[in-house]
Each structure stands twice: as C-alpha cells, then as structure tokens.
Symmetry: C2
C-alpha cells in the first residue's frame, strides 16, 4: 500500500494556505505601517508565488540576479530592483531589461557608474546601498561625504537616476529573540533617520528600502523607511524560528523523502534526501549541526513530530535521521518521512520545483 | 578591455589536462594493484568526463541515484552500480534499467528484497553494503549471522543475484594526513579479509568493492578488495588537499567569478558567486569557516594566489573574499577572480555546466 503513493524521490512540498497567510500578514503590516512592500523573489523563484503576491496588490519586486529579473520580467512584472552590487559584465542584459521595465540597480562605487555610462542605452534607477551592520556591501551610514559624492556622480550620468538607499540587514540573522531583532531594527532606523537629515536638504526627497525577514516580520518601528523587501517570509524555515522571526506553524515548505534503510542500534533512518536536496546549511542545536526537523501535519500546519527526531548528517544523496524509538518504529523502508528545512531559500533553489499539498499534488515550477 | 572577456556570471572552469591526469593515475594504480576501477560518476555527472574515463578502459561505473543511472545508461554505459540503499519506490524505473543494462543495487535489509521481488521483472545484481566505520549505512563486518541470512534471502529470490560487498569509507574524510588515511584503509582491508574468510567457504567467490577517494588515492594495501569506486578523484578539491588525498596542483576545477564591489578598510572583494554556486560546504582554517581559496594558474596548474586570500562568507548570490592588500589592489570592479572550491561534487552539482580551459572555452554539459 505504501508503494502506491506517488512520491518516489525527495519532493519539496508547498502549503499554499500557509504561504498565502504569510504573504497576507506581511502585506497588511506594510499597509498599516505605510510601507511599500517590494518582496524579494529569491526565496521562491516562482511565477506562481508571484501570482499570490499580486493578489495582495504587490506591483514592485526585488531580485538578486539579472537572470531572476529576466525570469520575472517575462512574467509581466514591470518594476524590478536587482538588489545586488551591479555586475557591469552583464550590460547587454541590463540594457535589454531597461528597455522593457522600470529597472533599479544597486550602485556602491563611482567606478561602476563610469563603466555603466559607457554602454548603458536606457535609463535605470539606482539605489545606493547602506551597510547597516552586516559588513557585506554598501557605505556605512555616517560616511556622508562619500555618499554625497556618489549621488552627484550618479546624477551627472545621463542614464542613471538616483532614487534612494537600500539595505539588507543580514546581521539580524544572528538574533535569537524578538527583543534582539527589535534592537537591530532600532539601530537601522536610527542610522537612516540621521542619514536622511543630511541628504534630504541637499538632494530632495528619496526612498529608503530595507528588507530582511527577521526585522520586517517582528519590528514595529520603521522611522524614515519607505519600503521593505523581505524574501524568506513567504516560506520561513527552521533558521527563522531559531531567530524568532516566526513560529513553526508559519513554515510553508517541507521535504518529503523516501526512507531507504534503518538502524535500530542507533535509532537512525536513512533517507533519500541529501546535500543536493536540502543544501548544507545547518543550525546548531545541542552543540551539533542540525539539517532539518522531522515533522507531521497537525491542524493544517507542520509541527515537529517530537523533541528529538532530526536530520543529523547529509551526504550528497543520503540523509541520516536520528530519532526517538517511537518514530524509529513508526517508519519503515518504503515509507516517506517529512522534514522541515533549515534554510528554505537554498532548499528551494536546489529542488527547482514544488508540489502543492492540495489533493491533486499540483506541481509548481521555478526559474530554470 | 576587461569587459571584452566572456565571463559574465559565476563559471565553473574545468582543466581537461589535470582531470585526465587524475584519471590516468587512478587507472594505472588500479591496474598495478589488480583492481577493477568502477568510478563513481556523482562528482562530475557528465557524459564528457565519462568519455575520458572510457579512454582508460573503464567499462563499469558507479552512481548515486536512479536518475544518474538513467543518464549514463542513455549514453551507452552497460554496467552500472547504484551505490545507494535501494529505493523501492523507484521500481518501475529500476525495471526499465534492468531490461537494458547490467544493473547492480545495494541491498541491506530482507524487507527490501521482499518489496523488490513483488514487482521486479528483470534480474539485478546486488551488493550488500558493509559499514566499515562511517556509521552511515550497511552491516558492521562482524555481523556474520545477519549477513549470511541476507545473502540467503537475496539468493532465494528469483530476480536478485548476490555478487558481493560494497563499502564507502566516508570516515576517511576526517583524516588529516596520508598516514591517517593508510590507517583507515588498513582497518577496511582487515575487516574485509576476515569477512571473506567467513563467507567464501559457504557461498563461493564474490566481489568486494570499496571506494572513497582518500583511501583509493593514497593506500597501497588492498588485501581482498577486488574493485574500487572513488568519485571525487577526477576533480579533487580543497577538502581533499586538507585530508592529504592530493596536492593543490591536482585540483581540476575552479570557479571564475565577477568582482562587483570592494572595501579597502577590510581588504574585502565582493564577488558574484554565492551559496547557490559554491554550496555551503566549508572547511575550518584558522578556526573559521572557509569556502574557497583565491587561485591563479601557474605552469598549467592552479595554485593559491597567496597565503591569506580566501572566500570567507557566502550569501545566496554574494561571496565575500578576504584578501591581502596586494590582491585587493590587483582586482577591481569588472574583473574576474578565480577561486578553488571546497567540495567539487557539490559545486559541480549546483553549476550544472563546465567551461573547459581550452582556447575556445568549450562548454561541457551535465545531467539536468
């Protein structure tokens, strides 16, 4: 009987109801806070999830690559920000995009402007990136002199139009409570409020867009921020529950994997589901790497099957689940088992397809 | 001038000469040791690399999934082992494969045999997996009673033919010297020699196949082992150099990535090349996670550009390279930079295409 089910290989399940509830919550929050929601599409990379976003009035989106911008532009999205330091090696592709849509690029250096202006044929909007604490890319917010210089360079160029500032507060991922998330957000708001006081009198009004899922999910203080661009919130995952951005019941994706072997001496199930399905992203739990939590659906939401059963090790195709005796006894070779992923963005990127948890098990495509 | 090069996005370079030298070395070693080389194709997943293997007389291969078996069977390979605990949910696919090729499966439980025999329509060969110390899957080698029972169950079934034992000594990946690798190999050989003494008098001759890249690269003692199935050796990577399976000059793949931003205060270059290109696999160096080493070609081999420049952090699409002042000054926005990957199997799986380092920059495809 077990063999009659249709799952033959690792499958990424997507619960539409949970996903749409996550979208609705964020859209309502943005509306209440008078923020424009420009969701980041890198998590789901799917025109279908894009359709659900449209139902909540979303018209502008954020992506992390030119390829992703092309994919969503082809689906009719007309206002796209590529939230990645502009890759000048893709100028032909950028020219093509800028011909058809309102394209916004991130520019952090005068050098990028000079390389762009030699070949850009259509106008683009530009954000300058602010490094609000993640130490990845962008200006620190009090580097007013250099920021003003770059705005001038951008404004002087014929094809680049400066529209404001962008920040991804990646450092919120090291938070472990809503209190810590709020503290990060307060720091971001304070940095932007000060920056605005320096820039607005000289250059007039502009937009501030900030968008990490932890802060956008939890914070109430948005100060001078005008727009948000969270991405992960559509699905959430174990990492976000550890940060306290969401509850376990908000997680909208789960991996369904065949059980292929089992070892009673150590209470371990071997599944088809490895690093090329889950990704090697891990969280630390009880001082050990942890790649996923065994889950079951209860009242329409996934919840951990118990306190201990988790994915402890990943090879390329194998997963090793360490579990309680009860879970061990409940699963046999030929069954499937469901595991909540640590980082839904990377898992989705690897799986490249969703299966909805509707009765039909509808398949939903992603970017190639 | 920089912009005239063809690399626009992260690109996985493959040096054919280094790869073929790696293949030749392993093929010659196998011949000298009187071992059959049944290379694992999961590292490269490419019919082109398969062609190079054929040049050294290889006729039997190992894969880690049914999909990979289908891909290589379509390319004309007629002797394929799926070195993964048999996934009984893929019986229709297994039946199709067994119709056309000599298919070998891994069976570790009587339950798997009983599920197979209900639906299997064509005969398959089977290995029983021996857990020689990796604690992933298979019988411990001294569990003679259960091993004998399973051989009997397999032999009784009409469509399963027992041919021997298989082991992947994943625990060799924790070695950090050739001496440690040799110790792991000696332990494996000792386990198999003892097992053979118990099994051969009862069941007659059979084959023993063992195949992790560290042991196959370094060991000289193969005892009762008849065949080897290493995979990573075709490319090697930083992880293998840390284990001491190979030298840096043996690494056959490298990532070429656009530099998109730079930060002089912290000597950091931002590249297009993130977790969805390299994978999140890391090694520990100086007590920190390390995702790649900045390299340059010298005398036909990649070598580290200096002692310090490395990939220190990965987001989904961003990489952060921490480098020496000299390297920092030598690379600007719009350039490309080359990085040796930590785990070539996972990087190749993500990149899904190679670019040869020949003059034409020939593209080489992989399994979809």
């Amino acid at each position: 009987m077990v063999l009659m089910e249709r799952t033959t290989t690792p499958t990424l399940l997507l619960d539409r109801d949970i996903c749409k509830a996550n979208i609705r919550r964020m859209a309502e929050k943005a509306q209440k806070q008078n923020l424009r929601l420009k969701p980041h599409m890198k998590t789901h990379q799917s025109v279908q999830v894009g359709e659900w976003l449209k139902e909540y009035g979303i018209s502008a989106i954020t992506v992390s690559s030119v390829k992703m911008a092309q994919y969503f532009a082809k689906d009719g999205w007309e206002d796209i920000t590529i939230a990645f330091p502009c890759n000048v090696r893709q100028l032909p592709e950028l020219n093509d995009l800028a011909k058809d849509i309102s394209l916004t690029l991130l520019i952090n250096k005068p050098k990028t402007v000079s390389l762009l202006e030699k070949q850009l044929k259509n106008p683009v909007n530009t954000y300058i990136e602010i490094d609000t604490g993640s130490n990845r890319s962008g200006f620190v917010s009090d580097n007013i002199t250099e920021i003003k210089k770059l705005i001038n360079v951008i404004e002087k160029s014929n094809y680049t139009n400066w529209i404001g500032f962008y920040s991804h507060a990646g450092h919120s991922y090291s938070c472990r409570s809503t209190k810590e998330i709020s503290a990060v957000q307060n720091s971001i708001v304070s940095q932007f409020d000060t920056l605005k006081k320096h820039i607005e009198p000289v250059f007039g009004t502009f937009e501030i867009c900030s968008g990490d899922t932890p802060c956008c999910s939890i914070a109430d203080n948005f100060g001078s921020i005008d727009a948000i661009s969270p991405g992960n919130f559509v699905f959430y995952d174990l990492m976000q529950t550890q940060i306290e951005s969401c509850g376990l019941s908000d997680i909208a994706v789960a991996m369904k994997c065949p059980v292929v072997d089992k070892y009673s001496g150590r209470n371990e199930l071997i599944i088809h589901g490895g690093a090329i399905h889950f990704s090697k992203e891990s969280i630390i739990q009880d001082e050990k790497n942890h790649y996923g939590t065994v889950a079951q659906k209860v009242d329409g939401h996934w919840e951990p099957i118990d306190d201990t059963s988790h994915l402890k090790k990943l090879s390329q195709e194998h997963g090793v689940i360490h579990c309680s005796k009860q879970v061990f006894n409940n699963f046999d070779i030929g069954d499937t088992i469901t595991v909540l992923p640590v980082h839904s963005c990377l898992t989705a990127n690897l799986m490249a397809e969703y299966q909805l948890t509707d009765k039909k098990g509808t398949k939903v495509g992603m970017m190639d």
